[in-house]
């Protein structure tokens, strides 16, 4: 103990007392057993709010404050002078007060004893009011008493309802269990794998078929005693007071010795088999020489009700006492004698050994192992409630193990995925060590395998499955079941993989969430898209939408478009190695790793929020999401986010194409129908061009937007004649603007309050477009209609209303329209404008047509009843 530190503490306390006027008082100074200076102080604690759940505080309270070595850099520790607060949160071992959950953050050396007393006073205030929080923080018994020499004990499984007390802490039985553990090479680490009862543990030890190694580490049994009460003494430093305390709660030292002996018996049996099966593994683990008579590892776990994570539930606080070699040996001896055939001699011998054990125990100091809790019931994950918590327990497939995929995979493991598959077809090359997390010894190994073996070491219990090979054929072959994953992360930055996923997803019965990430050419931007299970579309679709957004010069997205969707492909590709190496981006590990983390986080925010929303309200509107993350010079623009609702998706009549009509396109159609109804009459048909794209690889037709009738169109209740005036300009502009992402796809027209089915005229019209002398190889015909109610509802934009939709991709046919063609009507040419009254596109004044020529202009909205309306609907 530093004298300076003690002097400082004393001086600070004195200064405080001097101005305190009795609110703070030092009653005594003394030296504790460890040679540390300690003060008995008294604080004014009057007038505190008190709730039944809080501790009972008198008007003044006394505390023992021990100035630890290293003060003022280490905080003092404090005990109440009484046991009145035992069993309440943050009071350990009856009187040790847990003031600082995180001393590194909460203890301020500069503030010294002032801060300490302030903290103590606050602690009491909160404890009285029952508002000490956060409850159930993993509390630690006084660190001074644990010994690194005794080793560490990791506790994995929950004790749950194996404890002998009720949820509120009531109960008086002592619980006895066996901790089924594995131990590692230097015996300094023991992992509790399972809680089993004594009989089962004995059964396992005696069953020769039972596995005696866990992942190459020998198994052993440790007795567990669960006390119904708080131990009414301070963290005991000798076996005598521990066994006295246990005895007080109904677990006498005979029972203690018996349980130790039973486990020693188990361990002896296990040990014999371990040595027989794998002397080296057993020997390395147990001792230098694989001798099955070598001293055993003997320890005992003591549990008391205390820790809580939430609510009033009493959970076991566990401490592990490691017996020294001699005590272990005596226990072993006792266990062996117990196994001897009963005889007068053995009974006497047994008594003698037992007495020897007791007297040895009585003179032994206790060595407490470091407990490392991983029990979910008493610990809280550090990423609790963050978006990453979405990953916990999920089955994830990460495609690509490169600069994005490798860090993303690691992040998934850290977040606690249940199953992880990493896939890549390449091998580790020297050049990638610059920014991918591989080592020199990995060179030449498949990246997926190298990554999986590294990440498998993070958690003992998670095996990561590597897949070395072509991800398209392996994971996205036709009829592949994708339901075995909750999330697919595509970090390949490979367009063909995106297409493969798009196709697979289109036909999949179950669609896992999909996250796709790419990185810009100079690693300053990343684009990540997320498609929820409700989205039929995948990244190819969503990337298209992002590129259209960028093409529309939406401010936030322009730079993303320039970086990731340049109008003209970048000519200066970066080839890192000579020859035909894959082109890649230029960027450092810092950049790519940061972008990977940022992008994953963006995606997880979406998934996490979607989960929350689904729990709160049924069906979120938005199902596809994109975020652009930026760093370096681009970072000032921050992150841009956009989302889309689901498209109207329908398979075309030919069955070959899935048509995805964007909500924008459908809204534009509706606007035109509504406008037509207003300026013409509701019965008059209307229509226009469909702008979008055909994707043959995936069999998808995208409809991004639509146009209305050109001015030279003719519109009547039975006939829609799409003009040509200005159409090319419109299409060309769109193609140019979107860098050919979006162009002419087909026509749409309406059948107001009528069936959404093509007439012979419609068929002939479409045929003429795709005819060899026509303009295009194939075209989509879209008809919107619906019965009166459906139509009216959609036109009036009622919530959720949709028209009936007919869609057909009409391919080019090589011959003329002959009998059998849907457009064949007894050789009639239905493409000639029939006689009658028409509106022109964009005009509200009807005109009369005779023999294809405009003859007269009629009154608005009042076509003569004798008009030769020819119903052409089938």
């Amino acid at each position: 103990m530093s004298a300076d530190g003690t002097d400082l503490a004393r001086r600070q306390l004195r200064d405080l007392v001097e101005v305190a006027d009795g609110a703070v008082e030092v009653l005594e100074e003394w030296t504790n057993a460890a040679g540390n200076t300690a003060f008995t102080i008294s604080l004014d604690t009057s007038g505190l709010e008190h709730v039944p759940a809080g501790i009972a505080v008198r008007h003044r309270e006394r505390f023992k404050v021990i100035i630890t070595d290293g003060f003022p850099f280490a905080s003092p520790i404090v005990f109440s002078v009484h046991k009145r607060w035992a069993g309440t949160p943050h009071v350990q071992w009856g009187s040790y007060l847990c003031l600082y959950a995180v001393p590194s953050v909460e203890w301020n050396p500069t503030d010294g004893m002032r801060g300490f007393i302030g903290r103590l006073s606050k602690w009491i205030e909160h404890a009285a009011a029952g508002t000490l929080d956060p409850d159930g923080q993993p509390l630690h018994p006084p660190a001074v008493y644990t010994s690194a020499d005794a080793g560490r004990l990791l506790i994995h499984p929950n004790l749950g309802d194996l404890v002998p007390w009720a949820a509120d802490g009531s109960g008086s039985d002592v619980g006895r269990l066996v901790a089924w553990c594995s131990v590692n090479g230097d015996r300094k680490r023991v992992d509790v794998l399972e809680w089993v009862d004594l009989d089962l543990a004995v059964g396992r030890a005696e069953d020769d078929a039972f596995e005696v190694f866990h992942r190459g580490r020998p198994l052993l049994a440790i007795p567990v005693v669960l006390m119904p009460d708080q131990l009414g003494f301070e963290y005991p430093t000798d076996v005598k007071s521990l066994s006295a305390g246990l005895s007080e709660s109904g677990y006498d030292r005979t029972a203690l010795l018996n349980d130790l002996a039973v486990c020693t018996h188990i361990n002896r049996k296990l040990r014999a088999r371990q040595v027989a099966q794998d002397a080296k593994a057993a020997g390395n683990t147990w001792d230098e020489t694989p001798d099955d008579g070598a001293p055993l590892f003997t320890a005992m776990l003591v549990g008391t009700p205390s820790r809580r994570v939430d609510g009033d539930l009493r959970l076991a606080h566990l401490a592990a006492w490691k017996l020294d070699a001699l005590s272990g040996r005596v226990t072993d001896l006792f266990a062996q004698i117990r196994d001897l055939r009963a005889s007068k001699e053995s009974a006497e011998l047994q008594d003698e050994v037992r007495d020897l054990a007791f007297s040895l125990f009585d003179s032994s100091r206790i060595a407490w192992m470091d407990i490392m809790e991983t029990r979910p019931e008493v610990t809280r994950r550090r990423d609790q409630d963050t978006p990453s918590s979405w990953l916990a327990g999920r089955r994830v497939l990460v495609l690509g193990s490169g600069a994005l995929g490798a860090p993303v995979s690691e992040l998934c493991v850290r977040a606690g995925v249940k199953k992880l598959t990493v896939a890549d077809y390449t091998v580790v090359k020297p050049g990638i060590l610059v920014r991918q997390p591989y080592t020199d010894s990995d060179i030449g190994r498949g990246k997926a395998r190298a990554l999986a073996s590294r990440l498998s070491a993070i958690h003992d219990s998670l095996d990561i499955e590597p897949s070395h090979g072509n991800v398209r054929t392996k994971f996205f072959a036709p009829d592949q079941d994708l339901s075995m994953y909750d999330l697919i992360i595509d970090a390949t930055a490979d367009a063909s993989v995106r297409s493969a996923i798009e196709l697979a997803r289109k036909d999949a019965a179950v669609r896992p969430s999909l996250v796709t990430m790419v990185i810009g050419h100079n690693a300053e931007r990343g684009l990540v898209t997320t498609n929820l299970p409700a989205a039929t579309g995948a990244a190819a679709d969503t990337f298209r939408k992002v590129s259209l957004l960028a093409a529309s010069r939406t401010a936030e997205w322009v730079d993303v478009g320039d970086d990731l969707f340049p109008p003209t492909p970048r000519t200066k590709l970066f080839f890192p190695e000579p020859g035909c190496s894959s082109p890649t981006f230029v960027g450092s590990a810092a950049q790519s790793t940061a972008l990977a983390g940022m992008m994953l986080h963006e995606a997880l925010m979406v998934l996490h929020a979607a989960d929350q929303e689904r729990r709160e309200t049924e069906g979120g509107e938005q199902i596809s999401f994109a975020s652009a993350v930026r760093m370096g010079a681009a970072a000032t623009r921050g992150t841009s986010r956009v989302s889309w609702p689901g498209d109207v998706v329908q398979t075309d009549e030919s069955g070959e194409f899935e048509v995805r009509v964007s909500r924008t396109a459908l809204a534009e159609m509706r606007a035109e129908v509504r406008r037509g109804a207003r300026i013409r009459t509701p019965k008059i048909e209307t229509g226009g061009m469909l702008l979008g794209a055909f994707d043959d690889a995936t069999g998808i037709v995208y409809i991004d937007k639509v146009t209305g009738p050109p001015p030279d169109s003719y519109l009547s209740a039975t006939y829609f004649h799409h003009g040509v005036e200005g159409t090319q300009e419109r299409v060309s502009a769109e193609v140019r603007r979107t860098a050919s992402t979006c162009g002419f796809v087909g026509f749409w027209h309406s059948h107001p309050s009528g069936r959404a089915q093509p007439s012979a005229t419609d068929e002939q019209g479409m045929a003429s477009i795709v005819a060899p002398d026509g303009t295009t190889r194939r075209a989509l015909m879209m008809i919107v209609g619906g019965d009166e109610a459906t139509w009216r509802a959609w036109r009036n934009d009622d919530v959720g209303a949709q028209p009936a939709i007919y869609l057909r991709v009409v391919p080019r046919s090589n011959g003329p329209i002959v009998s059998g063609h849907p457009g064949y009507v007894g050789g009639l040419n239905l493409q000639q404008l029939p006689d009658g009254w028409y509106f022109r596109g964009g005009s509200g004044t009807p005109v009369q047509i005779r023999h294809g020529v405009a003859a007269a202009t009629g009154p608005v909205g009042r076509p003569p009843s004798w008009w030769p309306w020819r119903r052409r609907r089938p």
Partner: protein, 410 residues
Amino acid sequence: MQVDLNDRAKADDDDTPEVPVVDLLLEALPTGPDDRPFLAAFVLTHADKDHCSGFADLLEKATIGELWATPRMWREYLDDGEDVELCEDAKVFHDEVKRRVEAVKKAVAGGDEIALGDRVLVVGYDTDEQKHAYHDLPNEYLLKPGISVTKINGVDYAGRFEAFIHAPFKDDCAAKRNETSLSLQITLTEEGGQDGKVLLFGDLAYETIMKIFQYSEDHDRTQYLEWNLLLAPHHCSKHVMYVREGGKDVLKTDILEAFEHHARDGSVVIASSHPLPATDVDGANPPHKKAADRYKDYFDRFICTMEWPSVEDPSPVVLGVDEHGAQIVEDKVVELSAKSAEAARAAGRKLGRLSEVAAAATAAGRYAGGVVSISETAGMTGAERVQAVIKADRGSDAAPTNAVGFGRER
């Protein structure tokens, strides 16, 4: 039995919270055979004014069966004659004691019953005993420390009442008057056997009290040190646990530990004193805040008579012993018992002891009045006070209010 009395002149003023104790006592006393209010015994620990004022008044208005006196006053008269520094009440007390000593001697000599109002007990030693008139009283009228008494006014209450005499010590007979205080442990036992123990140390200070603990511990009679209720010695004086060493008050935790060691569960310390000051001023008379703080440090409960249940409206503190043991009777219970006592009185029924005490307590409470100002920090919780202290220790956030000049020598 009444131990000491302090009927203050202020008490007659309705605007002060002090209570006219003698009037209230008279009201609560039963009527004796002579049709006057009857007090079985009056015990004077020492003859300071704040322990006996009002005695003359009481003696005049009530019949007191037995007086308990210490030899000290004889000694003072012997030393100082008529110059003795005693208040009027003390003189009256001494005169009455002397009268009774003679009356007892005469009755004993004549083989007569001692008349009502003539009994006296002299408690303690004096090295010069032979010089005083009491020395030839029969032994049963001379009580020495280390014995226990179950009789009051000649009636044996064994099994219900016991008073163990701890002090004055022989060695202290010539010490300062406070140090010659009579010190008692009184045990009250209810019918079921539950008892309550009260430690009275008069105005003793650290040394003598430690001597008492030491002595009784050494003589294996720690049962006489046990307590439910401790009357804070010397009106909550800090000299009980602080000793002046090198010009500084040094805390002696051994006495607190001694108190603590012998305290029963639910221990209560009572300061018979003014409300506690917010701060102790050097040289001030008790009560001392420091002392109160130490009692609060160590014991479950601390009550100041003039703050109970509130500074504005102080009422007697009642220790009740019933089948649940000894405990302070809370005001609600007092009121309740008082009501039932009044009802019972109206119905002509015999009252329980607790009811009687409660009735007296409430009756006394009714006289209370007046408002005493409360110091600034009184409204703060302990935690707030501690935080304020820490803030003060860190330094004020206020700028200096006075201009300060700086300059060089010209």
